[in-house]
């Protein structure tokens, strides 16, 4: 029987090792899997490459992972924010490498990894600093930049509900990068507010089919994760 529900967030991230590339869902804090990140910090993996739209906000989630100096490199579109002080400090002292990617290219490169596309031509960024050194091509009179997939060893994402097959639905604009990261990582781990029965999600409305998800940990809203009776997967 398939059962992707794991008992704790700690168990969910237990095999994330040093040097791993980890995608982290979220746009700012909407959709950020903070409890999975907390578990990753506790786990202690170092020298990580992180893929996220931002570079941490305030003193939660990804910002704390940065503060703990576990991140060697970050691939993102919008690091500088009013509350990105942990990233800012590391960046100014050269303690973190930044690969800055226009947001739509970031999304499409992640999507390409999940969909088995080898590379693609995008108009975004053509002629700018962020396309320097990249191959270009004119197609039907329009200029494009060649971009390659971004893959990851793990994806940590947050969804609203999930079932034992790994099917997920999201909540409002917290959906953002979750579905595409789920498909781009070798091992996708989701925290959900609520684990539901297999028949409870509408098959017409499932956003992430379970094939893309390896583990689900339940983290009820506003409550720190506790041990669950579900079996490991």
């Amino acid at each position: 029987m398939i059962n992707k529900i794991v008992a704790t967030v700690g168990e969910a991230v237990a095999d994330i090792g040093d040097g791993a590339t980890v995608m982290i869902g979220g746009f700012g804090t909407a959709g950020m899997p903070s409890e999975l990140i907390d578990a990753l910090i506790e786990r202690g993996a170092r020298d990580l490459t992180i893929v996220n739209n931002n570079a941490g906000n305030g003193d939660v989630g990804l910002a704390l992972l940065l503060k703990a100096r576990r991140v060697r490199k970050i691939i993102c579109s919008f690091p500088r924010q009013a509350d990105s002080w942990h990233f800012d400090a590391l960046f100014k002292t050269g303690e973190i490498e930044l690969e800055l990617v226009p947001q739509g290219n970031l999304a499409e490169r992640i999507r390409a990894a999940g969909a088995g596309i080898g590379a693609f031509y995008t108009p975004t960024g053509y002629g700018t600093l962020l396309a320097q050194g990249k191959e270009t091509r004119t197609i039907d009179g329009r200029n494009y930049v060649l971009e390659h997939p971004i893959r990851a060893d793990f994806a940590l994402i947050k969804a609203l509900r999930g079932d034992r097959w790994g099917n997920l639905v999201y909540r409002k604009t917290a959906r953002n990068f979750g579905p595409i990261m789920a498909a781009a990582a070798a091992c996708t781990i989701a925290q959900v507010r609520e684990v539901v029965n297999l028949c409870d999600l509408d098959p017409e409305a499932i956003v992430t089919p379970g094939i893309y998800v390896k583990r689900i940990a339940e983290v009820p809203a506003g409550i720190k994760p506790v041990a669950q009776p579900g079996a490991a997967a």
Binding site: N53, P102, I180
Partner: protein
């Protein structure tokens, strides 16, 4: 000479957006445009983080951390709204489905190049977000910005000196002094603030400007 206030600028942009248009308002100044969209037009707002049919800010106390705009401010969703993931959202932009986007700007060149993401200074932390996607991702790209920098230099330039966001992408510029169209023949002044002579605008701008046949100009 007067200047358009920020709200006047936003109202002026809003006037150019027709009924039924799909529109993305960039972070910062363009966000103001939402407050000035005419009530008798149904205009559908897109936000890059995965929402079409964005509504106004919620009542205080009913903010939802999962329902935000590109600037990470709380918003609402109208009846008819839809949520989608980031690849779908940027496909919507890159695919040219939005009718208008309104962006802030550091500089716009005579040829319609836009610089709005990076000042290029050494110690600045760069952040691009969706700016480059928006620059190429709407049928009409509008830029809203002050005409001059705080030092009094024109933000409308022969060539951008800041790093580019997009090339030849801007259709119309709304400043606190004028409204200008980017045309194959150069910049054309469509409107000018009351009391500012056209020649004075040209002098302040520092690049050649044409005057549109029907351009409003009060006192020159």
């Amino acid at each position: 000479m007067s200047r358009y206030t920020r709200d006047q600028m936003a109202a002026r942009v809003a006037r150019d957006i027709p009924d039924g248009a799909y529109v993305n308002l960039g972070i910062g100044l363009p966000t103001l445009v939402a407050n000035h969209l005419p009530r008798d037009r149904e205009i559908i707002l897109h936000t890059e983080n995965g929402l079409l049919g964005m509504g106004p800010a919620p009542e205080p106390g009913s903010e939802d951390a999962d329902l935000i705009n590109a600037g990470k401010q709380p918003v609402t969703a109208l009846a008819g709204a839809s949520f989608f993931h980031h690849a779908d959202s940027f496909g919507m932009m890159r695919g040219g489905h939005l009718d208008y986007c309104v962006l802030g700007g550091f500089q716009v060149s005579v040829g319609g190049d836009l610089a709005n993401w990076h000042t290029g200074t050494k110690d600045a932390i760069p952040a691009v977000g969706g700016a480059m996607d928006l620059a190429i991702g709407a049928k009409h790209v509008y830029v809203m910005m002050d005409h001059l920098t705080k030092k009094g230099e024109s933000k409308i330039v022969a060539q951008c000196t800041y790093p580019l966001t997009g090339i030849g992408c801007v259709a119309r510029i709304f400043t606190d002094l004028a409204v200008l169209d980017v045309t194959p023949a150069g910049l054309t002044v469509v409107e000018i603030v009351d009391g500012l002579p056209f020649d004075e605008l040209v002098r302040m701008t520092g690049v050649p400007l044409h005057r549109a046949p029907g351009a409003q100009a009060a006192a020159d």
